[in-house]
């Protein structure tokens, strides 16, 4: 069954990482990917791009991932957008304990397989 490719927005201040991730995810031919390196611009970009899912970094200089997630969740246009946190600072112990603010997350570094699995799982209708 051929489905519509899912739209993914990557928000991370690490430009090298976002570019590579975009290339990789697009290489699967299943996703349309947009990258954004400035947390404070994320909500505006998301309103235009209308992603199905946001891969969100936590530690960013101007606006961190938590604030971005709160804005997205609180936005009427974007409230159905799924969020996965991608973070370098969370320890394995915290990862096992559960998500951050109810959102699923993954610790960097992450393999493509694990990431796509998590993306698919998150996007699967309830």
């Amino acid at each position: 069954m051929e489905t519509q490719p899912k739209r993914i927005l990557i928000v991370d201040d690490e430009a090298g990482f976002t570019r590579l991730l975009k290339l990789t995810l697009e290489g699967t031919k299943r996703y349309i990917v947009k990258e954004e390196n400035d947390g404070s611009q994320a909500i505006m970009v998301a309103r235009q791009f209308r992603p199905d899912l946001v891969l969100l970094d936590i530690v960013m200089p101007k606006m961190d991932g938590g604030d971005v997630a709160r804005q997205i969740s609180g936005d009427p246009l974007l409230k159905s957008v799924k969020i996965i946190f991608l973070t370098a600072i969370v320890s394995q112990k915290e990862a096992h304990a559960g998500g951050i603010g109810g959102f699923p997350f993954m610790a960097k570094p992450v393999s493509l397989a694990a990431l796509t699995e998590m993306i698919e799982a998150t996007l699967k209708p309830e």
Binding site: K108, P109, V110, S111
Partner: protein
Amino acid sequence: MVAPSSLSTTQPVKILLVEDNPGDARLISELLAAHTDQFQLQGQVDRLIDAEHAVEHDGVDLVLLDLSLPDSKGFETFEWLLSRGHTLPILVLSGMDDESLALRMVHAGAQDYLVKGKFDGPLLIRAMRYAIERNSAEQELAKEKNLVRALLETMPDCIYFKDCESRFVRVNPAMVKLFNLERPEDAIGKTDFDFFLPEHAGQAFADEQEILRTGTPILGKVEKETLPDGRISWALTTKLPLLDHDGRIIGTMGMSRDITRMKQIEDELAAERNMLRSVIENIPDPIFVKDADGRYLLDNAAHWRSLGVPTREDVIGHKSSDFFPPEEAAAFKYDDDRVIASGQPMENHEECVLDANGRRRWLLTTKAPIFYPQTGQVERLVCIRRDITQMKEAEEKLRAANAELSLALSNLKEASEQLRSIQLQLIEAEKMKSIGRLAAGVAHEVKNPLAIITMGVDYLESVGPGAENTTEILTEMRGAVHRADNVIRGLLDFSAPRQLEVSEESLTDILLHALMLVRGEMSGQDYKLVTDIAPALPPLRLDRMKVEQVFVNLMTNAIHAMEHGGTLTVRAFAQQITGVGANVSGSASEAFHAGDQVVVAEIDDTGSGIPEAKLSKIFDPFFTTKPTGKGTGLGLTVTRTIIDLHGGTIEINNRPEGGARATVMFKV
């Protein structure tokens, strides 16, 4: 004055005839003419006044005096001529056969009394001869008497004669004066008991009775005389038996000289000598005098007791070798000889000897030559010793105590070094702990590059070799590896153990460098920086890196305390501690003393300050007011440890005008 002559001389006797009757004169002249070999009529005068002149000028040996003269009659004639002061024999010729007048004349000094018409030539010649001889003997006697009288009258010594009952029969004026009498007669018939207290009078009486009994004189006896008025006088007395013509003892005579003054001087000298003697005797240090042969001449009690002998007599005349082992005695002799030979004293010479009980004694000895003023030679030496055994032993103990003390000190230094090393370890431990706290931040720095690498590997794998952007991807990955490497390297640098490396540093430079390091922390918000660093601060001995860490930490704390911006003030100045509590706080007054020169650095912020409840804990280990991952990683505990290691102080207080102030003080 004409000396009385004797008939033994060969010169004829020169006669002056004083006769106014020419018939009588002629008669006498004729009588003498037959004896011109013996008698020569020198002249004849009529008047007494002429007689005086002739006696004085014509060298007359005898006067034939007629009592009836024109200018004088009878006894007065003789008396007048006699009173002229000469000693010529006078033979009176008188017309009056008056026995009582004749006796009176002879008694008064006339040699004979011849009645005119009743003598012939031979009688006159004999009378004149006798007159000459008698007068000569009388004059001799008179001379003797005069000598004795002069002796008695003028001699300042007391002279007396006593009878067998010790009664005075004659005393001289000196004695009259001693007895406070008016005339010598006042003493006659009295005894010493009338003039002296019984103790002396009794002794004198006994002495005199002994002389009377034995005839043995007492010569040069010193007597103490106590007079009734309380005066005490000393007399040097000689008493002899008084003999009569037949050699029988009829009394005593004596002479005593007042030697009170002499006695006083003698007593004073003796007292002085005794005082010196007793001073020497009572000095607790042994003192002795030796002669050139090394024999003890005198010493004090401390000396002979130190030799362990029972009396001084056991020492005087002996030598060191009689009391000390040969080696010690030889050493003493060497010193003695050197002092005497050189005339130079040996001062404060430390000697170690064994005492009478075999114990080791330390002596501090001074030996000095004694010069004899007459010869200028050194024939004796005086030595004084002080027993310094106790001092020496105390010195030994002190030395031992000092050694112990320096050992303790070195132990203490070692302990201090250990403590220091432990403190350094604590700093390291704290750093490690801060590394733990930093882990989250480090993770972020390292995991991002790792994520890139992982993602790159996955991508390259999925696209296969020869893909269009492989080179770009690989560059990205290499950059990520480099980044990760840098982060790890920085972490290693930070955690590398470091000793306290002190050198002369400028606190100004350190503060400015620290400011530069924290400047990044102040970007983004509205921060204002005020620096107020006094020029020409004295250099301090500091570990630059560690002190820089301290200020980076304090400044970072200050910046973090001002989340929404504010003013960071960095101040530094030199100050002299004037007194405890005067211009310094409590902890500084413990570390510094009045007069110390210090350099003070203050870091002020305008934040909300530190809650009072937390103020007392801010230096406690593991205490923090910040979320994990914030700060430099060096806690205030370690900050304080670093400052302690430098001997400085740190205090953090809230400023009255708001915000906190960190005050750091280093001693110059």
